[in-house]
């Protein structure tokens, strides 16, 4: 028992700070990328919903352009996107490795995913409800803010938890090219130095973070859902 404690303490002294920093960096990348992803993806999702042929401002040209951009970005595997974007990342952040730099490709990968999530959430809103608002003189802006976003909020929250999980997974992948965070630690220590224990521990942390985010998201979604008892 005593030996185990000593071993644990030794492990903590050697890797503790490293792992805590890894968790911090992972959260930093995931949350910020998702945030920036929404700044780009949310308006895209709204525009997709509005300009769809069933939407309130059908516009085939705008819809098709966005649709194609999103499909192309979504079909590039993340690791390749990350490499493709190195010049952009360098221009924006000044370097292409480390957690801050990784936010750039993560945001680019998250935005189209978010746009699709938002689009599918908003399209769930009952057409009759939109029509009722229109009949009361609500402008398109009002309908977006109070009806579409307001009525789709449960679905939007569920979408956000899915996005967070996916972005976290991507952030770990970025470890391959020195992206920082838990994925980076797993690659450097677990893969290059054969310290399998470290890999296992990072995996446990990643799973735990995903679980917590998922749990929180579902809790918020449940609270905001007034359609069922």
């Amino acid at each position: 028992m005593h030996d185990l404690l000593i071993a644990l303490q030794a492990f903590y002294e050697e890797y503790g700070v490293l792992l805590l920093e890894g968790i911090r960096d992972t959260l930093y990348m995931t949350l910020l990328s998702t945030f920036f992803g929404y700044i780009i993806g949310l308006p895209m999702g709204i525009v997709l919903t509005l300009t769809d042929k069933e939407g309130i401002s059908p516009n085939r040209i705008i819809y098709t352009i966005l649709d194609v951009i999103i499909n192309i970005t979504r079909s590039i595997p993340f690791l390749i996107l990350l490499i493709l974007l190195v010049p952009v990342t360098k221009a924006l952040v000044g370097k292409s490795y480390g957690s801050t730099a990784t936010i750039v490709p993560l945001t680019v990968a998250a935005a189209p995913l978010i746009a699709r999530m938002v689009e599918s959430s908003l399209k769930e809103v009952n057409k009759g409800v939109i029509e009722a608002a229109t009949s009361m003189g609500a402008s398109k802006f009002r309908i977006i803010i109070n009806v579409l976003l307001g009525e789709a909020k449960t679905s939007l929250v569920v979408g956000t938890t899915i996005v967070l999980g996916t972005v976290l997974g991507y952030s770990a992948m970025a470890g391959v090219v020195g992206g920082g965070g838990l994925g980076d630690i797993a690659i450097r220590y677990g893969y290059y130095r054969f310290e399998t224990g470290i890999t296992l521990i990072t995996v446990i942390f990643i799973v735990a973070i995903v679980q917590i985010l998922q749990g929180l998201g579902m809790l918020v979604a449940k609270k905001s859902d007034h359609r069922r008892t």
């Binding site: 009759g128 608002a133 009361m136 003189g137 609500a138 009525e151």
Partner: protein
Amino acid sequence: MSETLLTINNLHKTFGEKVVLDDISLEVHKGEVIVVIGPSGCGKSTFLRCINALEDIQGGEVLLDGEKVRKDAKNISQMRQRIGMVFQSYDLFPHKTVLQNITLAPIKVQKRDKKDAEKEALELLKKVGLEDRGNDYPRQLSGGQKQRVAIVRALCMHPEILLLDEITAALDPEMVREVLDVVLNLAKQGSTMLIVTHEMAFARAIADRVIFLENGVIVEESANPEEFFEKPETERAAKFLKTFEFERE
């Protein structure tokens, strides 16, 4: 006759090749209740939806107090605020409470004071017997209660005319009554209404004028509902009314 509120001139509406409304003209006077009846698919609902420009029209015009109602007009929001509409499927906002449902448009669209809007909403709810349901969500209400809330939601905008589109068609029989009583009360208070319904007894009781629509044209129009329901002038209206009667030989 009191002054004309709504004028519809030669309204023409098509869905692709199909003509849905063909050369419909109608004048609605202030305080008048007009009931539109006719077989399914005759264009009744579309007719109502053209009046507040939920549908665009291919010909003719709709005038409210002499002002054109057009889907792409700058003042369409103002015009729609003056024309209230209640739908068959209630279409309440599921994530908003009854009170929020009613006051959303008065506050956000008409920029009225929140307190005033809520006060009025509660008064109106009281009139339809739902004063204690303000903080409930739509899912907690029965169909009849939802439809009464939807009527209050339309009334709270102070419309000059109300369009009621088969508002009891989705309700259980015992709930139809409570909704129709609300509408009867509105008629007594002098509201101007254009009603599409399949409830013939109700139509007979409430109508100042009856319009029988079939295949997109007004087949018969009568300012004497009693007479219309007893002895319609056209054979088609007679045949239609016959479908509501049952006889055991």
